[in-house]
């Protein structure tokens, strides 16, 4: 009886830890894609202004930078082991090269903080500030993101 119970317990624990991992992976996926959407929203807000699709609005530009900065504050923690696969475009290099990835995350966080501090007010200043932040997108996605 007891051994049977123990086996059942062990089996359910294995299942449980399995589902905990899956839940964590899904949470991580949602957390990091939500954060990246804030980056995308900033890029859209600012690039629409700079291309003349919308009227220039320094306050809106700075608000989008601030939102991206807040959204990426814990970005490095959104990639637990095993949270790749499925819909995720997270590339294997994130876990194969954790130091490089951590450095890339620190860099975008530092650049976002600098962008908030810069508080640009003219289209030229917004362009310069945005350019500094946007350089991170391609550089990081090139190494750490899958193509599709």
């Amino acid at each position: 009886m007891i051994p049977k119970l123990l086996t059942a317990l062990a089996v359910s624990m294995v299942f449980l830890s399995g589902s905990v991992t899956i839940v964590a992976a899904q949470d991580a996926y949602t957390q990091r894609t939500d954060a990246m959407k804030k980056m995308g929203a900033m890029a859209k807000t600012i690039s629409d202004m700079l291309r003349g699709n919308t009227e220039f609005d320094a306050d809106a530009a700075n608000a989008s930078i601030a939102a991206a900065n807040a959204a990426l504050a814990d970005f490095g923690t959104y990639f637990p082991e095993g949270s790749d696969g499925g819909k995720s475009k997270a590339g294997p290099a994130i876990w194969e090269d954790p130091d490089g990835f951590a450095a890339a995350v620190s860099k975008v966080q530092a650049d976002l903080a600098a962008a908030v501090a810069a508080n640009p007010q003219t289209p030229e200043a917004v362009q310069t500030t945005f350019g500094m932040v946007a350089g991170n997108c391609k550089a990081c996605h090139e190494k750490y993101q899958l193509p599709d």
């Binding site: 995308g40 890029a43 997108c137 996605h141 090139e142």
Partner: protein
Amino acid sequence: MKRLLKILAILGVLGAGIAWIVTAPETVAEADLPDHTPDPGHGERVFLTGGCTSCHADSDAEGDDKLILTGGLAFATEFGTFHAPNISPDPDHGIGGWTMAEFVSAMKHGTSPGGSHYYPAFPYTSYTRMAVTDIMDLKAFMDTLPATDNIPPAHEVGFPFNIRRSLGGWKLLNMSDAWVASPTDPKALRGREIVEGAGHCSECHTPRNAIGGLLKDHWLAGGPNPDGEGRIPNITPSEDGIGSWTEDDIAYYLETGFTPDFDSVGSSMADVVDNMSKLPAEDREAIAAYLKAIPALPDSDIGLPATN
């Protein structure tokens, strides 16, 4: 019986003779080159379109170091591992000693100066559609780049493709200088030169058959990622592809790396966008016009692991 054997023997010799003839590497002779003074300035534009640095520069190179075409990048495929060669102007270890005709033969026919077939990891299956004058301009530009004496590793290939001559048969089946799509608009036609020629977009965006030939019925409908995990996206104007993108969206993406919903370019396409962003705007617009003009296809799942 004896007679039959004799006929069979003759047929066998004939067959082998024909096979030998049709697998012979093609070349271009110096005398066949057009009367054209190579223009290195235009050659740089061709160089950026082809994205030569993506495979031939050291993978860690940044900035101007990317212009050192040292070779060495490894392509692990199901046929073996190929290593990009040194194509810097070094006369001994690069291609500095090549004549113009040898360079054109390599690009148009995939034939080496020694008269053997190159492996199609070198995408001459696309370059064969390039204008010879563009290839001549490209060489003139590449001659201006720094030389390096680096010797990349040799290819590691299994049977039957370790017999170079067999690639003649491969080329017969899988190589053609005919255009694939037939747009009518002049802008899209210019785009076709870029996409189907020097840009060699189909080499990643089109799936391949069992021996590695491009499946033209699935032109640009996406395929497995040659660099490993994941897939290369469908770029036809379908729902699975980029049907919702406008021409402006495509051109803007090629300039900045931002998709219409402001995701940012990643993976090996980042280098492509780096190069495309340096081209004149009209080239990006031409690519966009072509990509909107080709047949809209559903995602191809050929060669991909089943998804759940």
